[in-house]
Amino acid sequence: MASLLIPTALRAFTDRKSEIEVAARTAGEAVAALAEAYPDIKQHLYEDGGALRSFINVFVGETNIKSLNGLDTPIDADATVVLVPAIAGGVR
């Protein structure tokens, strides 16, 4: 099973879980498995048309899927997929 790491900003929708195991052959399937497991997160991950929202990056290992094959990027059975959203905190 591949591991999908969930950032703090999205853990409100995953019962505060920081990681789930997913059976997935591509990065896109891994993200879809998260949306399946926690339906409330879906509208935050995807645009209305089904594209991944642009404030969220998906990394397979240490490489951004934008530099690979996007959501179709194949992943190994034991891959680590990391969701990295824009966060803005600093001052207050």
């Binding site: 920081s18 929202r53 990295v84 966060i87 001052v91 207050r92």
Partner: protein, 392 residues
């Protein structure tokens, strides 16, 4: 890894006095810094945007290290709730402008540092003028519109933007320097929809987290000045304080980046409120509000009202709102059947911001009943109606 040259040309280096040689001795003993590096630190001008959680360690360590000029930008005043992490401010500074409090602390630490205060918000109108005079910008702001503003201004002016950002237990750090690598927009082409990722004021933050991320930013600033060190350019550092894990990711320059790509479409600063979706769309009716005193009057008059607290359980435990029903924000839309359109509903949260998203979510889901937002939330209620409740 990228090892950029110093951002300070050799001819700008400023020679050290004997007192300065004593003060900076531990730097001078490092061959990678030495006299030459310290002379560049003395000549360097660094702008710190925000003197809060990230700005505090940034300003203190850069001042201690002997950066000659520190510009500090902040419009805000020190509050008690800042002191859990903003270690540049003290209890006696509460209600003072943050830039004044920070200036005094920097001067106490190192009188040799020239401090330039900007007691203002950074905007599209002033950002280029303010940033132009500096060698490096360190971004410690708390909102997306300023993040994009700082990024675009730095790209347009050719300045490195030393980035740090925090949320709850998690931090990110990188160096966005379009000349050498990607910019913030290359990584994040657009911000999240308003309200999805709450601010630290609403979502909370572990106090030491900005200390760690801000200190990483300070290290990156110092290395850009001295030159020759392995920089975070093209790398994103993720830090999870709860599980004590660091992770490093590669980030690439995007050919299609609208500000630093091959064919840029952004040639000047834009309206960042609009870009971040903060201006209400044309034709949108504003949410109806009740002030705390208006709500109190309706309750006292015996009006039939349903009060819905959209905070999570751990937050309700800080300050309970009597006679309310708890429905966390994330569950509102799918629990629409629990709402009766014949009864007026009042929504509340900590400060009256997230409750607006609850109302919008129900509107979007087709709910037709009358809805009101409690202005300033539970904190406003504690301030105006029930002094026995804490403000948090």
């Amino acid at each position: 890894m990228i090892f950029p040259e110093s951002v300070i040309p050799d001819e700008r280096a400023e020679s050290l006095t004997n007192d300065e040689i004593s003060r900076y001795s531990r730097h001078l003993l490092l061959p990678e810094i030495g006299i030459g590096g310290q002379e560049k630190l003395k000549a360097a001008k660094v702008l710190i945007v925000g003197t809060g959680g990230l700005g505090a360690p940034l300003a203190l360590y850069l001042a201690a290290a002997g950066v000659g000029t520190l510009g500090i930008v902040d419009f805000d005043f020190v509050e008690a709730s800042n002191l859990q992490r903003q270690i540049i401010h003290s209890t006696r500074d509460i209600d003072r402008p943050k830039v004044a409090s920070a200036r005094d602390r920097i001067r106490g630490l190192n009188p040799g540092v020239k401090v330039v205060e900007y007691n203002t918000t950074l905007t599209s109108a002033n950002a280029l003028d303010i940033i132009r005079g500096y060698d490096i910008v360190a971004d410690g702001t708390d909102n997306y519109q300023t993040r994009y503003l700082v990024n675009d201004a730095c790209v347009l002016l050719g300045k490195p933007n030393v980035y740090g950002s925090i949320y709850q237990f998690e931090g990110q750090a990188s160096v966005f320097y379009a000349k050498e690598g990607p910019c913030y927009r290359c990584l994040y082409p657009a911000p999240p929809p308003p309200g999805l990722v709450p601010s630290c004021a609403e979502g909370g933050v572990m106090g030491v987290l900005p200390g760690i991320i801000g200190t990483i930013q300070a290290a990156e600033v110092l290395k850009l000045i001295v030159g020759g060190a392995g920089s975070l350019i093209g790398r994103l550092l993720l830090f999870d304080a709860w599980n004590m894990k660091f992770r490093e990711l590669k980030i690439d320059k995007e050919e299609n980046c609208p500000v630093c790509g091959k064919h840029p479409t952004i040639h000047e600063l834009i309206d960042y409120e609009q870009f971040c979706g903060l201006n209400p769309p044309a034709g949108e009716t504003p949410v109806s509000t009740l002030t705390p005193l208006e709500l109190k009057a309706r309750i006292d008059a015996g009006d039939k009202l349903r009060i819905v607290d959209i905070r999570e359980g751990h937050e309700r435990a800080i300050a309970k709102f009597a006679n309310s029903v708890a429905i966390p924000l994330g569950q509102i839309a799918r629990r629409i059947d629990e709402f009766d359109p014949a009864t007026d509903t009042v929504f509340l949260c900590k400060i009256g911001k997230r409750s607006i998203y609850a109302i919008r979510a129900l509107e979007k889901a087709g709910y037709t009943g009358r809805m009101f937002n409690l202005q300033d939330g539970v904190n406003g209620w504690a301030r105006d109606v029930d002094a026995s409740l804490p403000q948090y």
